[in-house]
C-alpha cells in the first residue's frame, strides 16, 4: 500500500452517507386517550389502581408498580411551576425568542410534573411555586398533539407554598 500523503494526496477523512428512514410510531392505548383529549382542549390523565397516583401524560403503566393505569382522570387547566430554567441560547429547531422559560409544571390533581413553556411574563420574574394556566391554540387549530397547548402563563394567584410541591422536585 502506498501512503496517501507520500503521493501528495490528502487522505480521505470524512465521507458523507445520509440516512433517511421513515417510521410509523404507535402512540399506545393510554397516550391515544391523552392525545384525543388535547384535540378537545382537555388534559386527560390516568390513575394507578394500586398507588392511586395520577399520571399525565399517561404511558399506559404505573412506572413504580408496573401495572396498567386504568381510571381516566380529567385534570385542571392550571398548575404550579415546581422548578424551571432560563434558556439563553437559541436551541436547534427552536424558534422562540430568547431568553425564555422552560418549566416543570405540576397540573392540579396530577402527581408528576411535565415540561412546558412559560410566556406572557419576563424571564426574570418567573419563580418556583408560581401558579400558571394553559393557553390553548384557537379551537379550529386544536389537534391530537402537544402543540395544541401554545404555552403556559401566570394566573396571577399567590405562589404555591414550597412545602406543597417540594416532593415533586
Amino acid at each position: 500500500m502506498t501512503d496517501a500523503t507520500s503521493t501528495g494526496q490528502e487522505p480521505v477523512a470524512i465521507m458523507e452517507s445520509p440516512i433517511h428512514v421513515d417510521y410509523r410510531f404507535t402512540a399506545g392505548l393510554a397516550q391515544s386517550r391523552f392525545l384525543k383529549g388535547l384535540s378537545q382542549g382537555r388534559f386527560l390523565g390516568q390513575r394507578c389502581p394500586r398507588c392511586h397516583k395520577v399520571y399525565v401524560p399517561p404511558r399506559g403503566s404505573c412506572p413504580t408498580d408496573g401495572v396498567p393505569t386504568t381510571d381516566e382522570v380529567e385534570l385542571s387547566n392550571q398548575g404550579t411551576v415546581t422548578t424551571y430554567c432560563v434558556v439563553n441560547v437559541p436551541f436547534q429547531g427552536q424558534s422562540i425568542e430568547i431568553p425564555y422559560i422552560c418549566a416543570q409544571i405540576l397540573l392540579d390533581g396530577a402527581n408528576l410534573a411535565f415540561m412546558g413553556l412559560i410566556q406572557e411574563i419576563a424571564a426574570d420574574q418567573v419563580r418556583m411555586g408560581m401558579r400558571v394556566e394553559a393557553v390553548w391554540v384557537p379551537p379550529e387549530e386544536l389537534g391530537p398533539t402537544m402543540a395544541s397547548v401554545r404555552h403556559f402563563r401566570p394566573t396571577g394567584e399567590p405562589d404555591a407554598d414550597y412545602e406543597s410541591f417540594k416532593e415533586y422536585l
Binding site: R24, T26, G28, T64, G66, P68
Partner: protein, 364 residues
C-alpha cells in the same frame, strides 16, 4: 463480597410471550410488555419483588428512538430500585448476562425480557445499517439479498436444493399450527410452496421470515431457588456464543463455525444429543446450515414451535427459542433440549444454550 459457590446451576423456571403479530398498531412497547411480564410471574407465583436482577434486550434503531429500553422498563416498575441492565442485542444475550450474574452468586433470580417492533420503520434500510459503515452500508443492500447470496452459496456447494428449502418452510409452518402465538402457520405441501414466486432468487416467498412485532420474558433461578419455583426446571447445562467477521466475502457462508464453537462451549458434542432443538433460522436455508453445524440427527424434533419462519420479532426471536425449548422440558415432553439464537446478517453471531431436566452435576 459474599461467598457463593462458583458455577452453581441455573435454570429457566418460567416463560411467556406476547402474540407475535405483523403490526402492533394500538399498544406501545410498555403496553405490549406488561401482560407478558405479568404472565411470566403469575405462572410461578412470584412478583417483581422476588427478582434479584432484571435484564433486557432491544434495539433503538428498530423502535426509531434513542434509549427506547428506558421507557420499556416502566412495564416492570423497578421501584424500589433494582439491579438492572440492558443489551442492545437479542434477549438471548440478556439471558446470558443474567446467567453470569446468577452463576457468580450475586443474586438468585432474574427477570429477562425483550421486545422488538419490526413494523414501524423501513426494515430493509434499517438492517443495512448493521453493515460496514464505510464500504457496505452506503450501498443499502436489503437483508433478503444477503440471505439470498448465502442460499445461492448453499445450492452451488451442492449442500441443498430449493426443494429442501421448501421442505423446511412447509414443516415449520405446519408445526406452527399448534403454536397459538405464531404469526404464520399453514399446511401447504413443499410441492405447492415451490410454485411461490421468487422474492430474491433463489429465495421464494415461503423461505423468508415474516415481519413481526412481539415481546417475550423468561425467569431464571439458581440452585434450590429453581426447584422451589418450578416442579421441573429447565436447567442450563451450558451456554456459549461466538461471533464471526462482518466481511461476508471473508466467510464460508455455507457453514456456521461460530455455531459449532458455541455448541462445544455449551458442552454439546459433535452430535448434539437432544430431544428438541429450537433454532433461530430466519431463512429456510439457514436451518440446514445450523443442523449441520450442530450435528443434529433426524431423530431430533427441530422447531416444534414453527421457529423464526413462523414469527421473527427481531431482538425477541432468539429469547423465544430458549423459552420454547425450556417450556418443553418444564412440561415434561423433553428431557434434553437445545436453543439457538442468531444476530447480524447471514448468521454472523450465534448463541447456543443447552437445557436439561436433570440437574447438572457442578462445573460448567
Amino acid at each position: 463480597m459474599s461467598a457463593a459457590p462458583t458455577g452453581r446451576p441455573v435454570a429457566v423456571v418460567s416463560f411467556a410471550q406476547s402474540p407475535q403479530v405483523r403490526r402492533e398498531d394500538h399498544r406501545n412497547e410498555v403496553e405490549m410488555l406488561m401482560p407478558v411480564v405479568e404472565e411470566v410471574f403469575s405462572r410461578i407465583g412470584v412478583t417483581k419483588a422476588d427478582m434479584g436482577f432484571v435484564c433486557s434486550g432491544s434495539s433503538d434503531y428498530l423502535v426509531g428512538a434513542p434509549f427506547s429500553f428506558v421507557s420499556a422498563l416502566d412495564a416492570v416498575g423497578v421501584w424500589p430500585p433494582m439491579r438492572e441492565s440492558h443489551v442492545e442485542m437479542d434477549g438471548a444475550w440478556a439471558l446470558y448476562e443474567a446467567w453470569t450474574m446468577l452463576r457468580a452468586g450475586d443474586v438468585d433470580t432474574a427477570l429477562v425480557y425483550s421486545f422488538g417492533r419490526s413494523s414501524p420503520g423501513q426494515l430493509a434500510k434499517i438492517l443495512a445499517l448493521q453493515l460496514d459503515p464505510y464500504y457496505l452500508a452506503p450501498l443499502w443492500p436489503p437483508p433478503t439479498a444477503l440471505a439470498a447470496l448465502q442460499a445461492r452459496a448453499v445450492i452451488d456447494a451442492g449442500r441443498a436444493t430449493e426443494e429442501d428449502f421448501a421442505e423446511v418452510a412447509a414443516r415449520s409452518r405446519r408445526q406452527a399450527l399448534a403454536n397459538p402465538h405464531a404469526q404464520l402457520s399453514g399446511d401447504r405441501a413443499p410441492g405447492e410452496l415451490m410454485k411461490d414466486d421468487y422474492v430474491v432468487s433463489p429465495l421464494r416467498r415461503h423461505a423468508l421470515p415474516p415481519i413481526t412485532d412481539g415481546a417475550a420474558a423468561v425467569v431464571l433461578a439458581a440452585g434450590e431457588r429453581a426447584t422451589e419455583l418450578c416442579d421441573r426446571p429447565a436447567w442450563i447445562t451450558g451456554i456459549d456464543h461466538r461471533i464471526e467477521t462482518h466481511a461476508l466475502g471473508a466467510r464460508d457462508l455455507t457453514s456456521s463455525p461460530s455455531t459449532t464453537l458455541a455448541a462445544r462451549g455449551a458442552g454439546l458434542g459433535e452430535r448434539a444429543a437432544v430431544d428438541v432443538a429450537e433454532l433461530h433460522a430466519p431463512y429456510a436455508h439457514q436451518e440446514l446450515i445450523l443442523r449441520d453445524a450442530l450435528g443434529l440427527g433426524a431423530e431430533v424434533s427441530v422447531n416444534p414451535s414453527g421457529g423464526a419462519l413462523a414469527a421473527n420479532a427481531l431482538m425477541v426471536a432468539g429469547l423465544i427459542r430458549i423459552g420454547e425449548a425450556a417450556q418443553r422440558i418444564m412440561d415434561g415432553s423433553a428431557a434434553r433440549a437445545l436453543a439457538h439464537a442468531t444476530s447480524g446478517p447471514c448468521l454472523q453471531q450465534n448463541l447456543v444454550c443447552a437445557l436439561a431436566a436433570e440437574t447438572p452435576s457442578g462445573g460448567r
